[in-house]
């Protein structure tokens, strides 16, 4: 049945190569012949011109109206004749028009309430019970620095303290970990950021030293410090400020005011020291007074507890002293101060020119209005905030803010009639003078335990932010409502009216 067989092989020829070969063709192409020529070019004339921009003052100076009045402009008369008819008609219509009454435009989203943004604290300082004594924003408005120390101690303290900074614009903002912590040998009572260089801070200590730190330097941020010179402060420094130099190119100088009655102007010297440039001393008998407050010898120094610089007049500054005195002082005063045992190489001058009516208690805060050249606020331990004018002694307005001490008062940088006051009961009260009543428009509860608010500062660039620091060791950043930050149309004239009122 089954047998072996061999079959023939079957072949299939490959078709692939034949089919490929049939499709091959070769072609060649060539572009047309390119024509090339060579030519040489050389400039035979060279001319040079220099261009320089002139500084901005030259531009303003060259515009001289008197000069232009003599030049005849052809066609000016005809132009004015043509245009003035139309302009006068529009002016009259505008004065009578009610078309825009009640028409309010809002470009920015409105916030109805004050909201809480951040609560910043440094746990190590809080553990030791240190309080926030001063807060300060830097010139760009993105960094806040807080000074830790104690305000309640009455005796010498050699306890170490801190200055902490947080950068609020950084994405990884950790409210418990400051971006920079500077160790300071004694309690820091005041801080001031440099007005144009965002990394320099000046601080005044409880021991009387004044230091300048540069936050961009590491590891040691101390840029300059006062040594223990004869002239340096021996009592706590309550205020530091940066002063612009007298000539245009000069660097800023540091002004420090302390409880020993001396107000010194320091300049940063090359070897890391602060050298005294000029100084003032407040002596009891050299203060012009309307009423005599006569305790103690006449040549005792009067301690300074608050200081404010005027935005409008660079010669004037205001000083709040022990005993509730508020004084108007001048940088260019000439009378030498009769300081007991003064040395001959640095003449201290008596700056006081005029004394306003006194508060019944030490003054903790003074602030000059950024919108009116004569108005300023003063607040002290008697619980009243006084609105005063530089031109007269008694206050224009006296507001009873709280039953406890007032530690800080600040004008709003955007609304001429609004100011904020920090109280000893832990509240920040915001007052709006455009409303008839003298009760606060807004009250911010800084902490629930009622510990005092020691310091406040409005952000100079993002003006709806307010930072406040208190005895509980935290700094809280508040975002104010638009009502408190947007200027209304008639505010400056209302402020002017208030300033010109004479109290009965």
């Amino acid at each position: 049945m089954f047998s072996d067989e061999t079959l023939e092989t079957v072949e299939v020829e490959s078709q692939w190569r034949k089919s490929r070969r049939q499709r091959l063709e070769s072609k060649s192409s060539q572009t047309l012949e390119l024509k090339l020529t060579e030519a040489g070019v050389q400039a035979c004339h060279i001319s040079d011109i220099g261009v320089q921009t002139e500084p901005a003052e030259c531009l303003v100076d060259s515009f001289d109206p008197e000069l232009n009045a003599q030049v005849e402009y052809p066609g000016l008369r005809e132009f004015l004749q043509r245009v003035s008819g139309m302009v006068i008609k529009e002016l009259k219509q505008n004065a009578k028009s009610h078309a825009f009454d009640g028409f309010e435009v809002n470009w920015v989203e409105q916030n109805q309430t004050v909201s809480f943004l951040h609560s910043l604290h440094y746990p190590e300082a809080q553990e030791r019970g240190l309080q926030v004594t001063y807060v300060c924003w830097n010139s760009t408005g993105s960094v806040i620095a807080s000074a830790y120390g104690r305000l309640e101690d009455g005796d010498w303290s050699t306890e170490k303290a801190y200055v902490c900074t947080w950068n609020l614009d950084r994405r990884g903002l950790n409210s418990q970990r400051p971006d920079l912590v500077i160790d300071v040998p004694s309690s820091v009572l005041c801080l001031a950021f440099h007005p144009t260089q965002p990394s320099l801070i000046a601080g005044g200590l409880y021991s009387g030293e004044v230091l300048v730190w540069d936050t961009s330097r590491s590891p040691d941020p101390v840029l300059a410090r006062t040594g223990m010179l004869d002239l340096s402060h021996r009592e706590p420094v309550y205020q530091v400020r940066w002063l612009p130099g007298t000539k245009r190119g000069d660097a800023f100088r540091v002004l420090s005011a302390s409880a020993d009655g001396k107000i010194l102007v320091w300049q940063v010297e090359a070897n890391g020291r602060l050298g005294v440039h000029s100084g003032y001393a407040l002596i009891a008998q050299q203060i012009p007074r309307s009423t005599t407050v006569g305790k103690g010898r006449g040549d005792t120094p009067v301690g300074v507890t608050a200081l404010a610089l005027s935005f409008w007049d660079s010669d004037v500054f205001l000083v709040g002293a022990e005993g509730g005195l508020v004084l108007k002082c001048s940088f260019s005063a000439h009378t030498p101060a009769m300081l007991a045992g003064s040395d001959a190489d640095m003449m201290l001058r008596a700056p006081a020119q005029f004394s306003f009516s006194t508060h019944s208690g030490p003054i903790h805060a003074l602030d000059c209005s950024p919108f009116h050249r004569n108005l300023f606020l003063s607040a002290g331990t008697d619980g009243h905030a006084h609105l005063r004018s530089l031109l007269q002694g008694p206050p224009l307005l006296s507001l009873h803010v709280s039953d406890s001490y007032l530690f800080s008062v600040r004008w709003s940088p955007t609304r001429p009639l609004v100011f904020a006051v920090g109280t000893g009961q832990g509240l920040v009260q915001i007052f709006d003078l455009s409303r008839g009543s003298l009760t606060p428009t807004a009250t911010i509860e800084q902490n629930s335990s009622g510990r005092p608010v020691y310091c406040m500062e409005f952000n100079p660039k993002q003006m709806e932010l307010l930072a406040a620091g208190g005895a509980d060791g935290t700094v809280k950043i508040w975002h104010l409502s638009s009502e408190l930050t947007e200027q209304r149309p008639k505010e400056t004239s209302h402020l002017e009216y208030l300033a010109n009122e004479v109290p009965e």
Binding site: L59, P65, R77, M86, V87, N94, A95
Partner: protein, 96 residues
């Protein structure tokens, strides 16, 4: 010359007028009642916006041309009378 001054004074004395500026074709203010820096600021900025406004009007209808420009803001109203050779700027505060 005095006619020019008289016209300008008349306009300046209208209710609410804060200041007036006359600008020539090169953009230089030739008469003004405001201070130097404010005048220069207003001149530079208003010239730019007048040129832009004129371009807008003429793009929409080439036969048309800008005669007068008014800008109303929260605090002021700025009026600009326009011509080939000059600009006349008046700043008025609204009366409320």
């Amino acid at each position: 010359m005095s006619e020019i001054e008289e016209t300008l004074k008349r306009i300046q004395s209208h209710k609410g007028v804060v200041g007036t500026i006359v600008v020539n074709a090169q953009g230089i203010p030739i008469r003004t009642t405001l201070d130097n820096s404010t005048t220069l600021q207003y001149t530079a900025l208003l010239r730019q916006i007048t040129i832009l406004a004129r371009g807008t009007v003429r793009d929409i209808d080439p036969q048309n041309d800008l005669t007068f420009l008014r800008m109303r803001s929260k605090k002021h109203e700025v009026m600009v009378g326009v011509d080939k050779d000059f600009l006349f700027v008046v700043v008025q505060a609204p009366s409320e």
